[in-house]
Amino acid sequence: MKPAQFGYLRPDSLAEAIGLLKDRPQDARVMAGGQSLGPMLNLRLAQPKHVIDISRLGELCDSSMSGDTLAIGACITHAQIEDGKITDVTRGLLTQVAKGIAYRAVRNRGTLGGSLAHADPAADWLTTMIALDASLELAGTNGRSQVKVAKFVTGAMETTIEAAQLLTCVLVPRLSTSARWGYAKYARKPGDFAESMAIAVVDPDRASSRVVLGRRSEPPALMQASSQVLAGKPAESLTEKLATAIEVDLSSVRADQADWTMHRAIVLRAIRTLT
């Protein structure tokens, strides 16, 4: 299908972009890489009066270190992360996740910020950034603010972003040299959204142990009991405790009974691959 009519705007600065959004709160959609918004426009699922292209805003296309935090510009593409073009603060986790997103042609345009703002629950970055306890920066008419990704996402395709706000960068804390991560995913076929995905990040030096389960239709969930069991102890010795913890977690995140064995297997595989 062809999109319904809209006006295309390409502001030259972040301030201009925010100004455009402020003037058209209900009628405008922000487009970064267009890989999520594009299909929605083509299917007429989204019918904005204006599309605001932010993909060329310099500020959003850079990444930089600030102390122990990597700030990744919202318009950095999945391919740039896949190709190792940003500083590696996650001991290779971000590169590994990037590789598995959709297909290269989509990764060449799709952006980290776009993916998080769109908040499709099955998007790999959501689960990843929550596992890393990352934050993101929002810029709007009231200036800039930061929010944890875990708090930013409130439901499937739902975030706390306001009408005249833009996601400007993602803030990822540097993992310690002793940190380990594990990643497992099941999709019907490679490139599809995952039916189940799990990322485990254990960083004893930063007192952090996080196991996150990603699913198709609900936002990623922190597996609290599993995370606690893992904190500071080698996974091999924890088989029984983990098994119990996973059951507790699957129940509290209200996983569909028909999917329990799948989610359990994926979580365990992520944990078993902790390196």
Binding site: M1, K2, P3, A4, Q5, P39, L43, R44, Y186, R188, K189, P190, G191, D192, F193, E195, S196, A258, D259, T261, M262, R264, A265, I266
Partner: protein, 782 residues
């Protein structure tokens, strides 16, 4: 056999244009002043139209059924007992019968504008309860898709042969299995498309359509539009695959043709993917219950089956729904020597798109029937499934073998093919492997599928005429014409949308005339140029069109030799054709000189030359019962018992289509067909909710196999020449798609057997495997 003729793996001559982006699909055809059509479609599965409100200011650009003046009805019939015909509405008249049914056509200057106008059309519906599944259709008190029928049964077919009572009483074992093959979409990468215009010079409708059957479409359009056939020109240009989707007269084609004639402007409609997934999810959708009666050694003495086919809302024209059920019955006994049979096939209608045949047609269903039950017999008797099949196969010595369903299995060695397939996967080592636990905890399984495919069948009582359909395929034509510069034009009635006809038919010309295939043009798809065959379908073109080409080229040999001998001043008996020349005892002449003599200097021709000259027309009469290709598939799977996912760790196909004119292209057909069958087995499903709303409407939801999904196939070919086809050829187009659902289902169930679990539903998704394992764990029946 030569380098360039039969048996040569010649790379395709037609590839150039596709590799350079110069192909001409319908959407690539640019006519000045083209308008675009978009369709207003039903958002309900079953509803009466109360009112249609056209958008103010654009009323003249919107057409409903009442506006399409002069159209005749489309009604497809068959002379099967009890068959109920239905009118196919070009645009909805009274009620819609599936989501996506076209209600109105909007015309705009661009596709986007046409969609804008369509979006503003308001339709008021009175919703009716929907018949979503085949069981809904058969339930007592079900809403009626066609009220005048009194039921939702389109046709109820029975087939009985042999002494089933005797088989039952002699049986030591009775096994029963049921399975479900869910609705799918044929998913050619190019959707449906057409561009229509009025040719003022010739006073003709010219319509470019992505289509497999140009002449039947021409006939259908001429009847519906009330125009003489000679004024309707159908051109099927490059077509981006079809697999059976682009075979019939469709609403959009009629509307666009009508609009072009009315507006005297070209009108174009290019289907988009969403539209296609909603409107064309129209194949498979079967249920089958099979019972086998076997003796103590596993010899199947008799078989029963009950098949239900959900054909969607309407019968398409010219070949109505109902054929699939009958085909399923007729092929249910497979390659086995089974002498008693009772079968029933009930075709129902439902509030879903009208069913159309998809690669393999009913054979993937019948293959599942005989192969799943054969595995069940094997396990009950306690023998390997390979052995059970070998004990039941029709043997070569019995051929030609007339089955109880009147199929004449003409040639082949089913046992040899299956043994070879088992050898390719290393069956003994897999059986040994299955006795150990896998380090990663997965379960290993092996499954076989042996089947035949009836190809290139003909007109008569064992062919199409048996259905009593309106358009029965007849002789297949070909015209061969030598040009003034000694090259060849072949005009044929089939249509190539990926099959490589421009190469394989040139190879046949090389075989007969010795002409270099690179000097042969193969022309098809244009009813003004091509002789009237029915098109390409049912794995027939190589045999039927191929046969006609051989005959036409043989006819052409006569004037070529005559003129050649005359130019060489030798006796005709001493002249022969070799390598594109005529050779005599003292020298030779090229075809170019022969052409020059005919076209430029007829005064130099022999006095008794046939005035028809260097053009030869021939027709091929297909052997009515058809010729039977066959294959053996062997699948090895690893099943993850926690996730339920299935990996195919090995897969072998041994195929026999008789003489292979171009082995490279035959392999392409088998591997391509396999990928469709794999999709059927593991991935593809057109799903509906309880209101009949389609829920797999984007390619994110409808999963087609990608490159990582295809295992490294082990392929082997046997060549048992058919005694009933020229050069011993048989068809192969659908073969690869028939075996995978059965082979993979058998392999998965072999893997799950230790858990007491089984899955008899395609696609075999991880979710279905998990559910089966959970059921078995909680004590449910396998």
């Amino acid at each position: 056999m030569s380098e360039l003729g039969v048996g040569a793996s010649l790379p395709r001559l037609e590839d150039e244009r596709f590799l350079h982006g110069r192909a001409q699909f319908c959407a690539d055809i640019a006519l000045p002043g083209t308008l675009h059509a978009a369709f207003v479609r039903s958002s309900h599965a079953h509803a009466r139209i109360v009112a249609i409100k056209k958008p103010s200011g654009s009323e003249k650009q919107v057409y409903c059924a009442v506006d399409l003046a002069g159209l005749r009805r489309i009604r497809s019939t068959a002379k099967l007992p009890g068959f109920k015909p239905s009118d196919w509405p070009v645009l909805t008249v009274d009620k819609v019968r599936h989501v996506g049914e076209p209600i109105a056509m909007a015309i705009g200057a661009t596709a986007a504008e046409a969609e804008d106008i369509a979006a503003l059309v308001e339709v008021e519906f009175e919703q009716l309860p929907a018949v979503v599944s085949m069981w809904d259709a058969l339930a007592g008190g079900a809403p009626l898709v066609h009220e005048e029928w009194g039921s939702n049964v389109l046709v109820d077919m029975k087939l009985e042969a042999g002494d089933l009572a005797a088989a039952k009483s002699a049986a030591a074992h009775v096994v029963e299995r049921s399975f479900r093959m869910n609705r799918m979409h044929p998913l050619p990468l190019e959707g449906r498309a057409c561009v229509a215009s009025y040719d003022g010079r010739l006073d003709e409708l010219v319509i470019y359509v992505a289509h497999q059957l140009p002449v039947p479409l021409q006939i259908g359009l001429s009847q519906i539009l009330g125009m003489s056939q000679r004024r309707v020109r159908v051109v099927a240009p490059d077509v981006g695959a079809s697999f059976g989707l682009k075979t019939y007269v469709e609403s959009e084609t009629v509307c666009v043709a009508w609009a072009a004639m009315k507006l005297r402007r070209p009108v174009r409609w290019i289907q988009d993917r969403y539209e296609s997934l909603v409107c064309d999810a129209n194949c498979r959708d079967y249920h089958c219950k099979v019972i086998a009666y076997a003796d103590a050694n596993g010899r199947v003495l008799g078989m029963e089956c009950d098949v239900t086919v959900d054909s969607g809302a309407y019968s398409p024209w010219p070949w109505p729904a109902g054929l699939e059920g009958g085909l399923a019955l007729g092929n249910m006994q497979g390659c086995y020597d089974i002498r008693a049979f009772r079968g029933r096939a009930v075709n129902v209608v439902s509030n879903k798109p009208a069913g159309q045949p998809f690669r393999g047609v009913a054979r993937p269903l019948s293959c599942c029937g005989h192969e799943i039950v054969m595995d069940a017999v094997a396990h009950t008797v306690g023998i390997d499934p390979l052995e059970a099949r070998l004990r039941n196969f029709v043997q070569p010595a019995q051929m030609p073998y007339v089955s109880i369903t009147k199929k004449t299995l003409d040639s082949g060695d089913y046992g040899a093919a299956l043994k070879r397939a088992a050898e390719l996967i290393g069956l003994p080592s897999i059986r040994a492997r299955q006795k150990q636990a896998e380090p990663d905890g997965r379960l290993i399984g092996v499954g076989f599928a042996s089947f035949y495919e009836q190809t290139a069948y003909g007109t008569g009582p064992f062919g199409y005429a048996a259905w009593g359909i309106e358009l029965v395929p007849g002789m297949e034509p070909a015209v061969a014409r030598l040009t003034g510069d000694g090259e060849l034009i072949l005009e044929v009635g089939s249509h190539s949308h990926g099959q490589g006809h421009e190469t394989v038919f040139a190879q046949l010309a090389n075989e007969v005339l010795g002409i270099d295939p690179r000097k042969v043009s193969v022309r098809f798809g244009d009813t003004s140029i091509s002789p009237a065959g029915t098109g390409t379908y049912a794995s027939r073109s190589m045999v039927t069109t191929g046969g006609a080409i051989i005959e036409a080229c043989q006819l052409l040999q006569v004037p070529i030799i005559k003129i050649g001998a005359h130019l060489l001043q030798c006796k005709e008996a001493d002249a022969r054709i070799r390598n594109g020349r005529v050779e005599g005892p003292q020298g030779s002449v090229e075809f170019a000189e022969i052409g020059r003599a005919w076209y430029h200097h007829p005064e130099e021709l022999p006095a008794d030359i046939d005035p028809a000259g260097l053009t030869a027309a021939a027709g091929h009469k297909a052997y009515d019962p058809g010729v039977f290709a066959y294959s053996a598939h062997a699948a090895v799977v690893a099943v993850d018992r926690e996730i339920g996912s299935i990996e195919i760790i090995d897969y072998a196909i041994v195929a026999d289509c008789g003489t292979r004119v171009n082995p490279l292209l035959v392999e392409g057909q088998v591997v391509g067909g396999f990928s469709n069958g794999l999709g059927n087995a593991l991935y593809e499903e057109s799903t509906y909710d309880e209101l009949g709303q389609p829920t797999a409407t984007t390619l994110a939801d409808y999963t087609a196999p990608g490159a990582p999904s295809i295992p490294e196939l082990k392929l082997d070919f046997m060549e048992t020449r058919s005694p009933f086809a020229m050069l011993g050829m048989k068809g192969i187009g659908e073969n690869g798609a028939i075996g995978p659902p059965a082979a993979i289902a058998n392999a998965v169930n072999d893997a799950l057997r230790p858990l007491g679990a089984s899955v008899y539903e395609t696609p075999i998704t991880a979710r279905r495997v998990r559910a089966a394992i959970a059921r078995a764990r909680s004590g449910g029946t396998a």
